[in-house]
């Protein structure tokens, strides 16, 4: 009862009591990784996944439609509004995820060309509509969202397209000339999976030394008392594709440490995926 009261009236004091001992309130170590569980093909669309990690559960559904070849963006993302997620934050996450697509970190644009039954490329492109639903939110959404999109893209199966339009015909392609053939389906060729880790920087004002303590994947309760937060996304060959820091941070070395941790976690993830396949 007393701990609950302390938690309510002085959340910083409550959290710092645990962090001084090197653990989170749930008993996990400050740099301990939490397990990641995912399931593919359960939410409809041409590809889908449900990912649960660090208290966040996200479902991702991908719908596809055919369009003529153009310079327009081929992917749009919609994070469905939820009571737990503020509209501004949803917009922020949306922009971040979209930037990963536009910079071709998930999939290359040329891999979204429509194919016929003989795997020949057609003058048509697939447009992907990615819908993310937040089922529970007790930590950073970005970690789970990046994994969910990666898993859903890996699950995506697109039908072959039968195009009744000669190559030499210069007239515009009509809607009626395009037919989807579901007997043969193609999988998307993806880039190597991305790994996103969120970190918190906690400064214990009660301690003698005002050192910055690095926290891996903190919960929302801990994020609320952190001085700054940072999200790192790492791709293949240990290339960092996104770093986003909020709040104040004094030690530059912490950023490198965060990247190292994320790269290490990604390596483990890729190895486990290979062993499963």
């Amino acid at each position: 009862m007393s701990s609950e009261v302390l938690r309510g009236i002085d959340p910083r004091g409550y959290v710092s009591t645990f962090i001084r001992e090197g653990v989170y309130p749930d008993g996990r170590g400050l740099l301990d990784e939490q397990k990641l569980v995912f399931k593919q093909g359960e939410c409809g669309g041409v590809g889908s996944s449900v990912v649960s990690t660090q208290g966040v559960t996200v479902s991702c559904t991908i719908e596809a439609s055919v369009s003529l070849v153009s310079d327009a963006t081929l992917v749009d993302i919609q994070i469905e509004s939820s009571q737990q997620l503020a509209e501004k934050d949803a917009e922020d996450y949306n922009n971040l995820l979209l930037s990963l697509f536009t910079n071709e970190h998930f999939i290359r644009r040329e891999n979204l060309r429509c194919l016929d039954t003989s795997e020949k490329t057609l003058p048509l492109e697939w447009q992907l509509h990615v819908t993310l639903k937040v089922l529970s939110l007790e930590g950073s959404l970005l970690d789970a969202a990046v994994c969910a999109i990666g898993a859903a893209l890996a699950d995506t199966k697109l039908p072959s397209i039968a195009l009744d339009h000669a190559d030499t015909d210069e007239s515009a392609i009509e809607k009626t000339q395009i037919q989807a053939d579901y007997r043969t389906v193609h999988k998307l060729s993806l880039e190597e999976p991305l790994m996103c880790c969120s970190f918190g920087i906690f400064v214990d004002s009660g301690a003698k030394k005002n050192d910055e303590i690095l926290l891996l994947t903190p919960t929302l309760e801990v994020i609320a008392v952190c001085r700054s937060t940072c999200s790192v996304v790492v791709g293949k060959n240990d290339l960092m594709v996104l770093i986003r820091e909020r709040g104040r941070l004094s030690q530059f070395s912490l950023i490198k440490k965060m990247c190292m941790i994320t790269a290490e976690r990604r390596r483990k993830f890729v190895e486990s995926l290979r062993s499963v396949v």
């Binding site: 790492v234 709040g247 530059f252 950023i255 990247c259």
Partner: protein, 372 residues
């Protein structure tokens, strides 16, 4: 056989002699055209042999304008020429390099490509003549907008930003926070700010993203607890964008907030840094930004009491400077991170020196008004 070799030698000699002559002729043509145009446009008083003050400023503006136009033409030409020279569907050399890039190892990704050669010359200079660690000129004017509490016009090379700060005032109830003040940023660009004309100045994805970044960055800088249940509005407009727009906006906003007298933990300074051939280059122009460079925008600040130049250097040694914004775009190898961060940190310190001098000068200019 010998006669063919002799002919080739003669031709080579003639070409060697012709090139300097051709370059000199080109230079003289440009020089004479420029002189004539600016003379016709600016010279008004023919009674004296010297230029008047107005004529002098007109001539320098005219030359700047002509040089800028020439530079833009060159940039457009460099972009469009390969498309015109190579057939549709056929890869231009640049596209071939870009498409070949993913197959390269990370170490070789940033080395020995014509892209890097075009960014830094063999003599170690960039396209605009700067050294890799050199920032562009910074010009500022404070207090331009009389309706705003604080305002700043900042030129960072050819990037020109106007920033206005309103508040703190009692804002909308929906945005009101009980324990601190709400920071609301609006980032916009003029439709003519870039090489391509924009349809909408604000509200697009990029503008919204930068607005959020500015909000988050300045929530860490302003002493928001001093103004509970109130709101501060920050408006940033990029009049002309030539790279490092976000960094220029952070710098302009810092000065505008200082002009408004809003208490802050320090003056924030920001810089952009990229990496070419494993060497960092700072304060990127739009040309450098578009050439597939990984870039980091870092913003940091130092304590407000350490406004003086020498003390700031000490603060850097003592490690009192703090990061408030880190933004990475494109791919960057983990081994290059510390190099880029160190360069960005040093550049932030350089920019801070410039901003601190401006703030001090403005404070001195305001002292008689304030009665000190």
């Amino acid at each position: 056989m010998n006669s063919i070799q002799n002919i080739q030698q003669v031709l080579n000699l003639q070409i060697r002699l012709f090139i300097p002559r051709f370059q000199l002729r080109e230079f003289l043509t440009v020089y004479n055209t420029l002189s004539e145009r600016c003379f016709n446009a600016c010279a008004r008083d023919y009674t004296t042999s010297t230029l008047t003050k107005d004529e002098g400023s007109c001539v320098s503006q005219c030359i700047d304008k002509q040089m800028l136009v020439n530079r833009r033409f060159m940039l457009v030409f460099a972009e469009q020429a390969p498309k015109a020279l190579f057939k549709q569907g056929e890869q231009s050399p640049t596209e071939a390099i870009k498409s070949a890039k993913p197959e390269q190892t990370p170490a070789s990704q940033t080395t020995e490509t014509p892209t890097t050669m075009s960014i830094i010359s063999e003599h170690g200079f960039r396209i605009d003549g700067r050294r890799p660690a050199q920032i562009r000129n910074i010009n500022t004017r404070l207090g331009l907008n009389r309706n705003a509490e604080g305002s700043c016009y900042l030129e960072h090379g050819n990037t020109k930003v106007l920033c206005a700060v309103y508040g703190p005032y009692e804002g909308k109830a929906s945005k009101r926070l009980e324990d601190r003040c709400a920071i609301v940023c609006q980032y916009s660009t003029t439709t003519f700010s870039g090489l391509e004309r924009k349809n909408r100045p604000r509200g697009d994805r990029k503008s919204t993203e930068i607005s959020r970044l500015l909000e988050k960055a300045f929530e860490s800088v302003i002493l928001t607890e001093s103004f509970p249940r109130s709101q501060i509005d920050i408006f940033c407009e990029v009049i002309q964008g030539d790279g490092s727009n976000l960094a220029a906006c952070v710098n302009a906003t810092s000065l505008a907030l200082a002009d408004a007298g809003i208490p802050m933990k320090g003056i924030a300074s920001a810089a952009t840094c990229g990496i070419v051939d494993a060497k960092p280059i700072v304060d990127l122009t739009s040309r450098e930004e578009t050439d597939l460079l990984p870039r980091v925008t870092v913003s940091g600040f130092s304590s407000i009491i350490l406004l003086l130049h020498s003390k700031f250097q000490l603060a850097t040694i003592c490690g009192r400077d703090e990061v408030i914004l880190v933004e990475l775009q494109n791919r960057l190898h983990i081994d290059h991170l510390s190099v880029v961060m160190d360069a960005a940190k040093a550049t932030c310190a350089d920019v801070y020196e410039c901003l601190a001098v401006v703030a001090q000068q403005h404070l001195k200019a305001c002292a008689p008004i304030l009665g000190h």
